[in-house]
């Protein structure tokens, strides 16, 4: 296990590379879902406003 973590001496480069990439993978998932949620909330608000004004 420790040999795996050590990555043949390259651990200081390999693991941060994976960390950065997967941070970006998960960030994109969160961003996309948030963008959709925001659009839906905004659409709801617009509908409510129109229902009120009509």
């Amino acid at each position: 296990m420790s040999r795996f973590l050590d990555m043949g001496g390259y651990a200081a480069f390999v693991w941060p590379a994976y960390a950065v990439t997967f941070a970006i993978v998960f960030l994109n998932i969160i961003w996309a879902r948030r963008a959709l949620a925001r659009s839906r909330a905004e659409a709801r608000r617009r509908l409510a406003m129109r229902a009120e004004s009509s």
Binding site: A17, T21, I24, A35, L36, R38, A43, R50
Partner: protein
């Protein structure tokens, strides 16, 4: 030959519903392929004769670079379709692509730097490959900046789409930079004519990662597309129904 399906894609409620239905069909296979690729790449693949275990950075660096280019071409093609056929959804697709592409270009540059330092002896050089990738990042940021900066949606759409299309010239430059010019970055191992220059045991996990990331991109796009479509169709009649789900 009927183009009905193509023009149906121009219909926002159709796109919205389709996107929602398709997303899991891309998201879950993507997760499986990436998990399999990680296992194959980090555990099963043997160390490289030159780079030892350091070469395993390829399993995040190559997919990131692949993403940066594939996403840009998607963005440029969507922008071109929107400009030429006046299909609004094209602008929505392009807009959805930009932050994804920008972040993975950043990932490619950072993972590349982390790989370059132990292997080449430097985090960065102004060689043709690295420089053109940095330009790609600026193109993405420029696209996003134009959209954010221009108040009028139509103008934002048009200007950013023109930039996306013009910048597409950079994509073949990036790919061929290592063969057209002297560079520090080596030639392609996979995306080339002829056999890949990578042993099968190392190559298969890489192909799984590339496929997995591609499906993941489609899933992301589908989610973002729904949001974009909603934002653009301000007062459309189909919206109330869709918000109930």
């Amino acid at each position: 030959m009927t183009w009905t399906w193509f023009h149906r894609l121009g219909s926002p409620p159709y796109v919205y519903a389709l996107a929602a239905r398709l997303t899991p069909w891309f998201a879950w296979p993507a997760a499986l392929l990436i998990a399999g690729g990680l296992w194959g790449g980090l555990v099963l693949a043997p160390p490289d004769y030159q780079q030892g275990d350091g070469f395993r950075i390829v399993y995040v660096h190559a997919p990131s670079a692949w993403m940066s280019l594939m996403v840009y071409m998607t963005m440029a093609i969507a922008a071109a379709i929107a400009l030429i056929w006046r299909i609004k959804v094209g602008h929505a697709v392009a807009a959805a692509c930009a932050p994804i592409g920008a972040s993975f270009t950043f990932a490619a540059l950072v993972t590349g730097a982390l790989w370059g330092e132990p292997m080449w002896g430097t985090y960065w050089e102004w060689d043709p490959r690295l420089t053109s990738m940095l330009i790609l990042l600026f193109l993405y940021l420029g696209y996003m900046g134009l959209r954010a900066g221009l108040e009028d949606t139509q103008r934002a759409d048009r200007a950013s789409a023109l930039l996306a299309v013009a910048g597409s010239v950079n994509v073949p430059i990036i790919h061929y930079s290592v063969t057209w010019w002297n560079s520090l970055h080596q030639a392609p191992s996979v995306m080339r004519f002829g056999k890949p220059t990578m042993a099968l045991s190392m190559l298969v996990p890489l192909l799984m990662m590339l496929a997995g990331f591609t499906l993941y991109f489609v899933a992301l796009l589908l989610v973002r597309l729904r949001g974009e479509v909603l934002s653009r169709e301000r007062a459309a009649s189909w919206i109330p129904e869709v918000l109930k789900t």
